[in-house]
């Protein structure tokens, strides 16, 4: 088990290095931060001064080594826009993002999983069809369309809720609703399909055949098995908690990490982008580790396999 986790952590570290390197190359080679931060009308000598100050004239490999050297010393760099430490910029955005994505995650799970289970247990019924139609519609409507429609109805027409901004908990309702609906739909569909898969397995028949009441067959035989694939998709969802709300943050003027990422990428503000990527990659890698751990917990077959993987 120890060796298994050593491999996992080594892989995670390599993944993060890969992410950071890839982003470095892409961002450095695809655009000049000076021009993007100072604008297309900035005089040439102003651009030159900016480039020089930030070392943008140095050879790319030099900049790369420099960057990793700094990371090794625990410095994550500064934003080229206002010179503030990048980590500071990112950290001050995290609470805002989590204020949307965490409740949304809870709602997705609370809505999607029961709906999926219910639909699977009543396969082919009217309710099943209705749930699945809603689910398909739910994840096909682009989130910005859904967001705009919610705003038109609940903010502009009914005046019940604010249309954007971050001043109170009421401002969070529509963004959370937007995020939850699409995600719940995906989760419902996935859960239903996982549940159907499990319900068709011979061991479910075995359980019924030995006289286990149906309710108990579902709760103690089907659900633990259906949880295994569902945990995978939940892991993905956890991984996107950090920067997965770009569109919703834009529509609702919500100052989260996603919006910061878009702005930072547009400005080629490398240090900030890398900070966010590190955060996202670490969340993703951690959630993968947790998922693996949960697999072991949920699926005894993998528990023994993990030891020699």
């Amino acid at each position: 088990m120890g060796r298994y986790f050593a491999i996992r952590i080594g892989r995670a570290a390599l993944t993060i290095v890969l992410v950071v390197t890839f982003a470095f190359v892409v961002l450095r080679l695809s655009g000049d931060p000076a021009l993007m931060i100072l604008g297309p009308e900035a005089p040439p000598e102003v651009l030159a001064a900016f480039r020089k100050a930030w070392g943008l004239d140095d050879p790319i490999w030099f900049q790369y080594l420099d960057y990793f050297g700094a990371i090794a010393r625990g410095e994550l760099g500064r934003s080229m826009r206002d010179g503030r430490p990048a980590i500071e910029l990112v950290l001050e955005r995290i609470p805002a993002t989590l204020a949307l994505t965490l409740p949304a995650f809870v709602f997705k799970v609370a809505l999607g999983i029961p709906a999926g289970i219910y639909a699977a247990l009543h396969r082919g019924s009217g309710i099943d069809r209705a749930v699945m139609m809603t689910a398909v519609a739910g994840f096909t409507v682009p989130s910005f369309v859904l967001a705009l429609v919610l705003v038109l109805v609940f903010a502009v027409q009914l005046g019940w809720l604010p249309s954007g901004g971050q001043d109170s908990w009421r401002h969070a309702i529509l963004p959370i609703a937007t995020l939850s609906l699409g995600g719940a739909a995906v989760l419902a569909r996935f859960t239903r399909s996982a549940m159907l898969e499990v319900l068709g397995q011979p061991y479910i028949r075995t359980a019924s055949a030995k006289g286990v009441p149906w309710r108990k067959v579902v709760t103690s035989h089907a659900l633990p098995n259906a949880a295994i694939p569902t945990v995978t998709i939940l892991g993905f969802m956890v991984g996107t908690l950090m920067a997965g709300a770009v569109v919703v943050e834009s529509v609702f003027a919500w100052p989260g990490v996603g919006r910061l990422l878009v702005v930072a990428v547009a400005n080629r503000d490398l240090a900030v982008v890398q900070c966010i990527l590190l955060l996202v990659a670490m969340t993703m890698v951690t959630s993968n580790l947790v998922v693996d751990f949960l697999y072991g917990f949920l699926d005894p077959r993998l528990r023994s396999k993990g030891a020699h993987a």
């Binding site: 892989r11 898969e197 990659a281």
Partner: protein
């Protein structure tokens, strides 16, 4: 195998080879039964199939059936409402015929969605199988790539492609193909590992079947249902992601058009000229619905565990 069994005689042999039949008799038995007893195609599935066929036909002949050139402007006739004789679905912010643009968009979007889904399914499944087969270093490499893919915001990937290679359609398809492959890889790997551990694959291997034959003929059919469901999830996601990219200005670029692009640019006109966005958005929803209906139906047909 005792000689005194009936099952190896011709009387009971079917077109399936007897070894896997032995290991998997009931599954194959029921699938044989299924092949024999084709249940009638339900109405919803028939409707879904006809919709997809219609979309394919439109995609094939988009420019022939479009009443106008899709870039043809008419600045004096901007944002005209649908339902007039000249423009059934109205015109957009440049006075272009929304119907003509919709038809061409269907072609582009289907191309992207089918192309990308196929690429991600093939790449993902292959890598998943490779990981499951070789284990060790190969597996770690595949898993690392998949971690990388999952950790890298798609925005950056899209940016990389747009920045380095310009915005050509094949590249965009390739890019979208990269989207979601890791999910297939994980599913394929997981399922292949557990299938490998199950009796039938072991037995087939002992009989000397080549690995590719084992994966393609024996493991793939057994995990097909899960993969198909994933496909029906990835397909709409590709269309949606493309529209999300259009939202950020990184998707299909003008003068080219796509469903996502129409929705992305049309969002500013949601109150002023909703028809610009409504037609493509409806197309996306209905097409996805059709894909899901067909996917569910196929899943049930292919899934040997459901009777």
């Amino acid at each position: 195998m005792t000689d005194a069994t009936l099952k190896d005689t011709k009387a009971f042999s079917s077109d399936v080879d007897s070894v896997s039949r032995k290991e998997n008799a009931s599954r194959l038995g029921s699938s044989v039964r299924r092949r024999i007893s084709l249940p009638a195609i339900p109405v919803s599935v028939a409707l879904a199939i006809s919709w997809i066929v219609a979309m394919l036909v439109i995609a094939a002949f988009a420019e022939k059936i479009a009443p106008y050139g899709f870039t043809q402007l008419d600045l004096r006739n901007r944002l005209s409402a649908p339902g007039n004789a000249a423009h059934w679905l109205g015109t957009d912010e440049l006075g272009r015929d929304v119907l003509s643009r919709l038809l061409v968009s269907i072609r582009i979007s289907l191309l992207i969605a089918f192309g990308a889904t196929a690429i991600s399914a093939m790449v993902g499944t292959t890598l998943g199988f490779l990981a499951a087969h070789f284990r060790g270093l190969v597996e770690q490499l595949v898993l690392m790539l998949s971690d990388f893919q999952a950790s890298m915001p798609f925005l950056i990937m899209a940016l990389a492609v747009l920045a380095f290679f310009g915005n050509s359609l094949p590249l965009l398809i390739g890019l979208m193909g990269l989207f979601g492959w890791e999910r297939y890889a994980r599913i394929a790997r997981g399922l292949a590992i557990s299938a490998n551990a199950q009796g039938y694959a072991v037995a087939v291997r002992q009989l000397g079947a080549t690995p590719s034959r084992i994966y393609l003929r024996h493991i793939l059919p057994n995990i097909a249902s899960t993969l198909i469901v994933s496909t029906t999830l990835v397909f709409p996601e590709v269309i949606l992601t493309e529209s999300g990219l259009s939202f950020l200005g990184l998707g299909v670029q003008p003068p080219m058009t796509s469903l996502g692009n129409m929705v992305g640019y049309g969002r500013e006109y949601l109150t002023r000229a909703p028809w610009i966005m409504l037609a493509p958005a409806t197309t996306i929803v209905v097409t996805t619905l059709a894909v899901s209906v067909i996917g569910d139906w196929l899943r049930d047909r292919l899934d040997p565990t459901l009777q």
